[in-house]
Symmetry: C2
Subunit: 213 residues, 2 copies
């Protein structure tokens, strides 16, 4: 394992200043794995001037000994390995990757609605998501969790895939998405709610949010 | 390495019946790595009835000893390991993942335009892509290739990231995308054209396309 054989790299994660979004799983993974990192948070007002300096005009960006690495699941995978939260077995790794990517697929559909200024357009888009893509993926993800033993998504232990689903379920239940009922997950996949509660009570996650309110 | 220590799994890749799209990099990777697989191709007419039986309503799907694994880059990564086309080093792996994911990001922007029936709407959407996201990623990807030695995107040897970029550049230069000039890559990142030509002349890729015309 790289994380026991080699010196831990200098890590700086750059993301927006809130407890969620595409940088949050990496923060939690490093917190759980006791991986030291600089948690640099960019204010929304600083973003327009900063955007063009990032590799693809997006956050998060992870600096690894000064080299920039981008793309949310790429970063999750890399820090997941450092934190001991990524499977060693190739097929378990694929199971972990698949889950992270499926969540990202749904987020790709949700994100454009965050920037819709016309309320009627936003409502229609959100209602379409709440009737189609969101319940489909919630249902299939719940069935997948059951097929994989009911507790974790890959390899029978906590991985970055579980953190990704945890944050997604938290988001869907939060009420932050107007016109998307907050009880979709509860109604369709109670096992994902149980998975959420288990992850949410992980001591390192509890401690992280006590320190980041 | 898994591919030398363990028995090769039974593999079946299910994707649409054409030489491109989100299943093609995995086909090429397995061809290059001499990984035996069942190359099952679904006709467009069979897709509507088949769609709901897939894990997330999408192709490609990879069957690994009968278990379904989905998501294009997840599959690329898994078969890349089997084929010896995925880096062993964690940071090189992240460099490889980042490139595959950045290409997928642009494809997420392109794919909706493939289904636009209103020609004027399609033209406007394609022109917006050709003026913004496509040249941005082409430019940054070309610079990234240079920073990484100019020949390969990760670890100084051929990986699935190179196959992903090869297919993307081929697509952008193909003329299949109406209203997107076919010379964007040539004008902005000639090194990506050279990368394309090198990859396109790989003996295993030449042989694959001689057998799949």
């Amino acid at each position: 394992m790289t994380n026991t054989e080699t010196k831990m790299p200098d890590l700086k994660l750059i993301y927006f200043d809130f407890n969620g979004g595409r940088g949050e799983a990496a923060r939690l993974a490093m917190a759980i794995g006791n991986v030291a990192f600089d948690d640099e948070r960019i204010g929304v007002e600083a973003w327009p001037a900063y955007k063009n300096s990032t590799p693809f005009g997006q956050l998060p960006v992870l600096h690894v000994d000064g080299e920039e690495i981008t793309q949310t699941n790429t970063i999750n995978r890399y820090v997941g390995k450092l934190a001991g939260l990524y499977p060693q077995d190739d097929l378990d790794a694929a199971r972990c990757d698949e889950v992270m990517s499926a969540v990202e697929d749904v987020m790709f559909a949700i994100v454009p609605t965050l920037f819709m200024e016309d309320e009627d357009e936003k409502r229609k888009a959100r209602e379409a998501l709440a009737e189609g893509p969101i319940p489909l993926v919630v249902r299939r993800m719940g069935e997948m969790l059951d097929r994989r033993g009911g507790e974790y998504f890959a390899g029978g232990k906590l991985t970055v895939a579980d953190l990704k689903v945890f944050l997604w379920v938290r988001y869907l239940r939060s009420g932050l998405l107007d016109y998307v009922p907050t009880d979709i997950v509860d109604n369709i996949a109670p096992n994902l709610v149980a998975h959420f509660e288990r992850t949410n009570s992980h001591p390192a996650i509890v401690a992280w949010y006590e320190a980041h309110q």
